[in-house]
Symmetry: C2
């Protein structure tokens, strides 16, 4: 519980390497997470090699922690291993569809979060890189991912060389609905986002980017519609190349 409430994303790491035994323990902790039908529909590619990190960095938009962290983990949804098992056992697998993309993405995410908490409980710091989905084809090629495998997220791991403040969150009732989903009326939205919008850092983002409000910083600067559509189409194309039909 303490580990959970202490989490902050770490973007600066010491050069101290991570011992293999510790890394194995953390990855094994990942595998203790629940998984669809105990099928373990995930894999992780461990990148420690400096040159490999350098070649992956552009696919994560050159975020500096990719090269700086001693370990980069690429977390993959993986139907290849299960499909291969079926193939070699003369069993007729039917997992190359949309339902199983989502099942395996959930599996991979639970594995990832378990290993992150295990890492943090051992004094390591982590940062998720959502960029894995943006450049899935390039990452897939670099890591030799076969059909049925999708890089879902990447995680940098290392000993923290910073201690950033806790990140703000919406009030709990923004995400918790009792018995029925409460519609997001304008009044409710104003209430849920009041604190976030009033933060000094938010005002700074708005001013720096010449926008009217914080929401526009997201839609016009951070995650723009044109970019979203581009990367979404790219991701869909990649999934079809990876053998999924839908």
């Amino acid at each position: 519980m303490k580990t959970i409430f202490n989490h902050r994303s770490i973007r600066q790491y010491k050069s101290t390497p991570i011992e293999q035994a510790l890394l194995d323990k953390i990855l094994e902790a990942g595998t203790r997470a629940s998984t669809t039908g105990n099928m373990q529909l995930y894999s992780v590619v461990v990148t420690r090699d400096e040159k490999a990190k350098e070649s992956l960095a552009p696919f994560h938009f050159n975020q500096p922690m990719v090269k700086q962290a001693p370990v980069l983990l690429t977390i993959c949804a993986d139907l290849n291993r299960f499909n291969s098992w079926c193939e070699f056992r003369n069993a007729d697998a039917g997992y190359d569809n949309f339902l199983w993309i989502l099942n395996s993405v959930v599996d991979a995410s639970l594995f990832a979060q378990n290993l992150c908490l295990a890492a943090e409980s051992e004094g390591l710091g982590i940062c998720y890189l959502g960029t894995a989905l943006y450049n899935a084809p390039e990452i897939s090629k670099a890591l030799n991912l076969p059909k049925g495998v999708i890089p879902v997220t990447a995680i940098t791991v290392g000993y923290p060389d910073q201690n950033p403040p806790l990140t703000d969150r919406l009030p709990l009732f923004a995400v918790v609905h009792d018995e029925q989903y409460v519609a997001n009326s304008e009044e409710r939205i104003n209430e849920l986002y009041a604190e976030k919008e009033a933060m000094e850092s938010s005002a700074k983002f708005v001013t720096e980017n010449g926008k009217e409000n914080l929401a526009q910083v997201f839609t016009d600067v951070r995650y723009k519609k044109a970019d979203n559509l581009h990367f979404s189409a790219k991701l869909l194309g990649f999934l079809k190349e990876q053998g999924f039909e839908f």
Copy 2:
């Protein structure tokens, strides 16, 4: 770490209710998980009402723990709240596409796994129900989920009334690849699945179902191709109804 390595899915619960303060703490622990751009693209609907649990049970194929557990949590990927915020702030949201389905499914999964570990660290037991994706339209209707919201998984929570053994996992090297993904040759697959196939319980499943091997129990009994295709198409249709375009 101890909590992680102690995890087993709990399918029998005591009738002891969960205090509201404890449940809130667990849900708050969920919100400390990493989230895409701190957008918190998830929601949870809490079901305690007996009649509500009864009406949801068939959508989880009447697994008995749905009615027996004091609390059922339906974990949702949620773009509605963020989109509503954008709408009321005159910001042009572009999140109704495939990329953001996956971003929000990952967000929802990290939230879910955090709250599960928090629950377990407080002596509660949990069980994930993958059935939420199978009957997403029905669950969505029952819980009044608006556009942009997808039930991703459900979790039963309560005080354990059983202590099942740890579930087997593949050897660690099945899921961990060093620098490059190792192709799943027949030799490798034989090695990875040897222990699982040799288990007494596996032999029992094979015999009981009149199959040649364990893989066929998965493909012909547990997760059949025809069912997968049916539920996959149903899920895709639902996502389009929920306003996603791809």
